[in-house]
Symmetry: C2
Subunit: 345 residues, 2 copies
DNA sequence: TATTAGCACTCTCTATTAACGAGTGCTAAC
DNA sequence: GTTAGCACTCGTTAATAGAGAGTGCTAATA
């Protein structure tokens, strides 16, 4: 258990390092008003904190730097919320004042604002379209052997695929199929689409309507919606502004990670609500060991829809970022609910 | 006018610098088989080439480096095509073998392959959707006061916007409007859409059908398709691999440039067919003064559709890149023509 | 006359060294 | 329990020296 003085010194040390990015020395700390102790006392406490694993030295005679454990303790026990200014709130809400209704656009814009406010890179894990429901299905023929299939979801999202039409299908064949699908599949979750389509196919088979079956098969192949986590980044370059990534090698490996996260399945597990903080190695990836990721989920009604996150150096301004994410995820939950499950939705 | 020997020395110097990124010295050059002259002779020639502005020194007693003028001359007069291996051609064509039909997908994939083959960053200036023609227009109501408008183009591209419906419009009102629009606007270029919609509005006004006019106005606002050059990048990080961008400051300014080019209108003027090379300051931007951009346009029929480009350091492998772009732009022209103006298109 | 060998000179790069400063740990005094 | 004092450590910076690669010029050579 830490004494009050140790708590104070740990907190001030972390705060100072977050601000200056320089190892914190005892003399320096003792100059601060909040720390009415002599350098020697502080040195003693710091030595203890180091022994307990909360602080580290970069070399034998350097000042102290928070360890991962130190950050973790700081984040778990010392994170008082920061007041967000009216101006900042205004900036966050500006997204919703434009009366935008396309969720994708809202998410994208939000990512940009978040990155601007924090000076870190923001990540938006978009709505998983597979959770949307089919509102209307239609097919528009392009050429004799190709057509584009369009699904409009209840959220206003539009999925479209070009697919090829097996030979010698007439317009009326296609119309029949569109009717069939609208009849059976309206209201179905997008991720259920393949299996439901198959069900329809089987039903059609029973009716021995072999030709329509062909068409459904081709369509099925085209409409399979992969579970691709759509990831939007805001201010990717912000990373380059952080002194810890002045080394091009590090910057590159993080950029690489960012471009490929969506290929690593389940890296952003959305199984937890609220705000999550993952520090350094907690991200389970070598490239991320000097980074922290703060995630906040947003919900619509009971259903968890997606999450917004900030990625920055472990020495990031946790207080500010957590507070901003809190405001923004709340706003997103509220405003997206309005749009998706509005009075007539 | 340059003598044959000067030509040879210039060429070998540029080639060597492109390969090694190190200033080229006379002794080093004289060791090469192609250059059967003594270091002293080479020094004399190099001094002349420097006087003429083709070569530069990084400091008084360093080897020579091509100047921008040197690269220009090299590119204009010494660019023999490089043989592309069968394997590489196969890789390029792999895009078309998947029987993909969505142009956007093809473009994106092509960008990735191009970047992989060159180890530079590739840029794809997508098809300008505004040149596509309306094939079918439809509206799907979402709630009582909002709906999504969908335009399918002849190329299979789908544009969609959510827009708000003025109060008290019924389903039949909307149906009437959809019919009206399909009647008047099928076959119209997307960039003509706003003006044509206005024409329809006026026609409706004459018929004193005030309510439909409201709706058309709201729709018009939503469907205005900005001239946003869609830019796809492949391998943005490749830039960080080039030794000239080891300086984070430079890397950042180029990244910044890339993220904002599409906001600088007409930076990629597509007014020229074929392959264009812009070296250093020819790009008219400070951040680009150490970069070259090689652009190749692709056409469908007579119509120029877009262009593919490679961005790299001025010290880039022009030979290889030009050859690869040549193959790829040809392939894109051919294959996209098949898809968009196929036997039934 | 065109080419090349020789040579003095220039400039970068890489140690090496020395002085400085910020910080530490320990001991003894308060 | 706290703090002043002191010797020590280590990173940083500046100055210095030597090696190496390159140049320009002059004189010798084919």
């Amino acid at each position: 258990m830490l004494t009050n003085r140790q708590l104070l010194i740990l907190q001030v040390t972390v705060d100072d390092f977050i601000e200056t990015a320089q190892p914190v020395g005892s003399r320096q700390l003792s100059k601060k008003e909040e720390v009415p102790f002599s350098p020697a006392t502080i040195r003693n406490e710091m030595a203890d904190l180091e022994e307990m694993g909360f602080l580290e030295k970069t070399h034998t005679s350097s000042g102290r730097v928070p360890s991962q454990k130190g950050y973790r303790y700081y984040v778990d026990n010392m994170l008082t919320p920061q007041r967000i200014t009216k101006n900042e709130i205004k900036q966050i809400r500006s997204v919703f004042e434009e009366r935008m209704v396309e969720t994708e656009q809202i998410i994208r814009k939000s990512a940009a604002i978040l990155s601007e406010l924090t000076n870190y890179t923001s990540i938006m894990l978009g709505l998983d379209v597979r959770k949307h429901r089919v509102k209307r299905f239609s097919i528009v023929p392009l050429t004799d052997d190709s057509a584009v299939a369009i699904i409009v979801t209840d959220s206003g999202h539009v999925e479209n695929r070009v697919f090829s039409i097996p030979e010698s299908f007439t317009a009326s064949d296609i119309e029949r199929m569109v009717n069939l699908i609208n009849e059976h599949l309206v209201g179905v979750h997008l991720h259920e689409l393949p299996s439901k389509l198959e069900a329809v196919t089987i039903a059609v088979l029973r009716q021995k309507n072999g030709r329509l079956n062909d068409l459904l098969g081709s369509l099925n192949k085209a409409m399979t919606i992969e579970h691709e986590d759509k990831v939007y980044y805001g201010g990717k370059m912000q990373l380059l502004n952080q002194p810890e990534f002045n080394d091009v090698e590090k910057a590159r490996s993080i950029m690489y990670w960012m471009d490929h996260v969506n290929q690593i399945p389940g890296l952003f597990h959305l199984d937890q609500k609220g705000i999550q903080i993952r520090i350094g190695t907690e991200n389970n990836h070598l490239a991320m060991e000097d980074c922290s990721i703060i995630t906040a989920s947003y919900e619509i009604g009971e259903e968890q829809m997606g999450s917004i996150a900030i990625i920055g150096p472990t020495r990031m301004d946790y207080r500010r970022v957590v507070s901003l994410l809190d405001v923004m995820s709340g706003d997103l939950s509220r405003e997206l609910s309005k749009i998706l499950h509005g009075p007539y939705g």
